[in-house]
């Protein structure tokens, strides 16, 4: 496969592979402790609440609100610099505001990460997950809800 130059997750990382497989199916998953029910993201082998290593993955609504955002400018890695300035956001899930994801705000499910006017982005804006394929990886991104 031709490299796009983007930094992409290792799909063979056993800790996170189920998450990325979920994205490929169009599902935003979170890791849930089978023993005590605590959600935890990013995923890890042990539940910090009850120390169980048993877990499952559960789908979320994919609805969230913008918790913060940045607009990176050069110097950046070439693939990102071509798109700069672009936005990167942190969102908090509506299902559970303690669960947050880093992502990007796009205008449409197949939109680029530099299409939204950064001046229009505000903390608290409601968003909905969408999925975009980059090489063999499916990344969650976000559109305005």
């Amino acid at each position: 496969m031709t490299s796009t130059g983007f930094l992409l997750p290792d799909l063979e990382d056993p800790e996170s592979a189920p998450f990325w497989e979920g994205c490929a199916r169009g599902e935003l998953l979170v890791q849930v402790c089978t023993s005590c029910g605590a959600r935890r993201m990013p995923p890890r082998p042990m539940c910090p609440r009850c120390r169980s290593v048993d877990h499952r993955w559960e789908a979320t609504s994919g609805r969230a609100t913008i918790w913060s955002f940045v607009v990176p400018h050069p110097p950046l890695l070439p693939a990102y610099q071509e798109l700069a300035p672009y936005n990167a956001i942190v969102v908090a899930l509506d299902d559970d505001s303690a669960i947050r994801f880093v992502g990007n705000l796009v205008a449409s499910p197949d939109g680029a990460i530099n299409e939204i006017d950064p001046a229009s982005i505000e903390i608290g804006d409601p968003v909905q997950v969408v999925f975009q394929q980059v090489e063999d990886v499916t990344l969650p991104r976000w559109v305005r809800a």
Partner: protein, 382 residues
């Protein structure tokens, strides 16, 4: 308790620059050698080493180059900018517990070297915690801290004017320090506000410098320090912290991401000390990015949560009349960025009375390491 049992008795540094020809190992050895000379000791007296895990020169090579004696204590501390005060603290603990008698702690860095900028290395695939941020273009430390900064501004009303207070104060101090990279370059508020963005809401002048250079300190017991040539600068208190559910740099995934490592570190630090924040007249606070200053002022208890930005108003950080002259050599933003180790040496100079922006009568100085990573801090006392 470690309190005042050990002292910093020697300091040494190389010139600061960009693209210095010497290797990191050579720079480390030059700084360590200068610190040993400053202490009036012989290299054979050094039997303890504490360094950053990111250091390029290994302990064995340092010992073989500088001609150290039999080394009986050596330790490394991780997490980059969080490690500086930690190396001094570990050296002090080793001396205080008899694991060694004379220890050196140091940092040598070639910022231009690709290995020191992990975000600039194109690696095919990412595993571990960076996979949750870097694919989305949160690539550099500045992007990671800008994310927290935007949220901090939103929650507490901090503004770019506050961040300018920080950048301008440190630049004024650098303008008084002949060794500072920015010694000859004044900075105006207009220049700050007009500067190009690096990662909004942070501009060029919210960022630290990129520096090649090395600095080192020599630590020994208070008893031995009394016989040496320099006035002892006592390690009054020392602490480290990894707060609950902390994540390195991308601390977005816990209940209260703006409650940084400084809070937990401060609780231990002040518990070890005979002084309180009110008694501290001068501070060297880790400043890879300007917003780390208000966050640290809050964490170390100089003001309440959310008040760190307003604390910087009215020249509070500026020598000589501010409430808390901070980064009196120019700090990482205007003297040199050597993972914050220059802050340790400036703390020592303040306690010796030899700073280029000397705070009259200062008897205690706070020195901190990186906020946003597992961190450490020192209270130095004369």
């Amino acid at each position: 308790m470690l309190r005042d049992q050990t002292a910093i008795v020697g300091i040494g540094q190389t010139a600061f620059g960009k693209g210095l020809p010497d290797s990191e190992l050579s720079l480390a050895c030059q700084a360590i050698s200068a610190a040993i000379d400053d202490a009036g000791l012989e290299p054979a007296a050094v039997d303890g080493l504490a360094m950053f895990s990111m250091e390029d020169g290994r302990e064995v090579e340092v010992a073989r180059n500088v001609g150290l004696g039999d080394v009986t204590f050596f330790s490394q501390i991780g997490y980059g900018g969080g490690a500086g005060c930690g190396t001094v603290g570990h050296a002090a603990m080793a001396v205080a517990t008899g694991q060694c008698e004379v220890a050196v702690a140091w940092r040598a860095r070639k910022r231009a070297a690709k290995a020191s900028r992990p975000w600039a290395q194109v690696s095919s695939r990412i595993s571990g915690h960076w996979q949750w941020s870097r694919p989305f273009g949160v690539l550099r430390p500045v992007d990671e801290i800008a994310m927290l900064t935007r949220r901090y501004m939103h929650e507490f009303g901090a503004t770019r004017e506050h961040l300018a207070n920080v950048a301008l104060a440190f630049r004024k101090h650098a303008n008084r320090n002949p060794a500072a990279t920015m010694h000859d370059k004044p900075l105006s508020r207009e220049q700050y506000l007009d500067a190009r963005w690096i990662s909004e809401p942070l501009c060029l002048f919210d960022n630290c410098l990129e520096t090649d250079g090395a600095l080192a300190v020599v630590i020994t017991s208070a008893a031995r320090a009394a016989d040496l040539r320099n006035p002892p600068v006592y390690v009054h208190a020392f602490a480290q912290s990894i707060p609950q559910q902390h994540q390195v740099m991308t601390n977005y995934f816990c209940d209260d991401p703006l409650l940084g490592p400084s809070h937990a570190c401060a609780a231990r630090l002040w518990a070890q000390a005979e002084v309180t924040p009110r008694d501290v007249p001068v501070a060297q606070i880790y400043d890879a990015f300007s917003p780390l200053i208000p966050l640290s002022l809050e964490g170390y208890g100089f003001c309440a949560r959310g008040e760190g930005a307003a604390f910087t108003d009215d020249g509070a950080l500026e020598w000589p009349d501010g409430r808390l002259p901070t980064n009196t050599s120019g700090g990482g933003m205007s003297e040199a960025y050597v993972h914050g180790f220059n802050l340790v040496l400036e703390g020592v100079r303040q306690m010796r009375g030899t700073s280029s922006s000397q705070v009259d009568g200062a008897e205690v100085c706070l020195v901190t390491s990186g906020e946003g990573v597992p961190t450490s801090a020192l209270l130095l006392r004369r």
